[in-house]
Symmetry: C2
Subunit: 87 residues, 2 copies
């Protein structure tokens, strides 16, 4: 399954979330990840995230598509997929 994941976290938890999501998906923008992932791994990602998320403040949205080909991606401006400059 192909997913797009976006999060909006309190400042103190942003880096933790970023590092967590990197284990499973590809970083494509500030708080946006994408990639191919299994149902089991996605559950692991979500359960792991819930451990440090503040659910009354933070937000994690996952869009799932059964096939990457059903999604077309257009990028305007910078493509930021080099985590080296960020961490």
């Amino acid at each position: 399954m192909y997913v797009i994941l976006v999060y909006d976290m309190g400042e103190r938890r942003v880096v933790k979330m970023l590092k967590h999501c990197r284990k499973y998906l590809n970083w494509i923008q500030n708080s946006v990840f994408e990639g191919e992932i299994t149902e089991v791994k996605l559950k692991e990602l979500v359960l792991g995230a819930k451990k440090f998320m503040k659910e009354e403040e933070d937000s994690l949205i996952i869009f799932k598509s059964r096939n990457e080909r059903w999604l077309e991606k257009e990028i305007i401006g910078q493509e930021k997929n080099d985590l080296g400059t960020f961490l």
Copy 2:
């Protein structure tokens, strides 16, 4: 066509981008919008955004799906679709 739009803008341009995107799509998270849009309206959105984006710093990514039903959405934590508290 159904789209998910995410942006990463310099601080000075964030509010402008938010207001611009609101004209076309539904706000669902910090810098994330989604919604049904025509090809023509999407071009208008992108051309409008390019006018104030700094393409060497900012980033705008649009995922397009021909049908919303091809995307399943899971939300963990807060669902922030009330712009009232933000603007």
